[in-house]
Symmetry: C3
């Protein structure tokens, strides 16, 4: 198991980690297989989405903010981050990405992101890679 | 493949299954690897989230209820659980959790939950574990 | 790694791909294991949900359309598909499905779907299968 570190600077932020994961793939020597990544936090998720036009990430986060704002009159959790927990389960805490020819298999516009939903914080992502037969 | 059983007592409920999954890991003898879990139901999901303050789960379910209430004038499905199906795909039907030192790799506050969205029911979760090289 | 092709005919559409994935399992000869599938697109996801009553899929898509309509005054991305990107991360770009007795492990009502959120388009899904010990 490997671990990568991510530092966020905003409350909600999608941080590209494709290069970090690709480095773990290269180090592993695996040519064909699958990479598994898992956020070790309950207010930070992992996803694959567009890493070309930064307006896509802006729009994702702006819409999420409106669907799930931090304050709701019925929230009981005292830390003020119940929305962050919801967003984390919606986007998902773990992710699998295929590996082929020694590289992450990603479509033209795809990149892997750590999704910070309660930053700024220092975050950890655990990574494991399996070799296909 | 192993299977664990979960019994829910509410329509919407997040039930901790970390200990059940950890027992499957222990039985497998796998020290380093990845566990895969899959809900065998279309109205029950799996996620990782906070298993410390129960207000977090309360807030998650309360917000989901408001975002996707059971009744919508445009719903056609006669069983009255269209919201349950949506929540299941949003949270996700399957999950991977890393294993290291013979234990599920989970951050300080993380626990694995079966998410019941149309209970109360008896539910099944299929589990498979792979050993890393 | 294998790849399957999916052709959508609507902007938002859930297309059953269980049979395509089952064909990859059969070809692999794997009896016990896990299948990993990954959408190679940033506006198309994968999920498991009910593949019996088509009203379920209707209701899922109708509710998603209301939660995240294509037009929002705050959207900056010029392609008019910011909602598609959000839906993709909410449902998830990749998926694991257990395999047992040479078949995908699916509950009575479960089917695997490619979720088109910005069609009609020709889409690609990458697939890898691992054999359990």
């Amino acid at each position: 198991m490997k671990e990568i570190r991510v530092r966020s600077s905003e409350r909600c932020q999608m941080i590209p980690i494709t290069a970090d994961l690709q480095a773990v793939v290269a180090e592993s020597g695996v040519s064909e297989g699958v990479l598994f990544a898992q956020s070790l936090h309950t207010t930070g998720a992992l996803t694959i989405n567009e890493n070309a036009d930064p307006d896509v990430v802006h729009d994702l986060l702006a819409k999420l903010q409106r669907l799930a704002p931090p304050d709701e009159p019925f929230y009981r959790h005292a830390e003020g981050n119940s929305d962050s927990h919801l967003k984390t389960s919606a986007f998902g805490p773990s992710l699998c990405v295929l590996v082929s020819d020694g590289r992450l298999v990603l479509g033209t516009w795809q990149g892997v992101f750590f999704c910070e939903f309660d930053g700024p914080r220092e975050r950890r992502v655990a990574v494991q890679i399996f070799r296909a037969e």
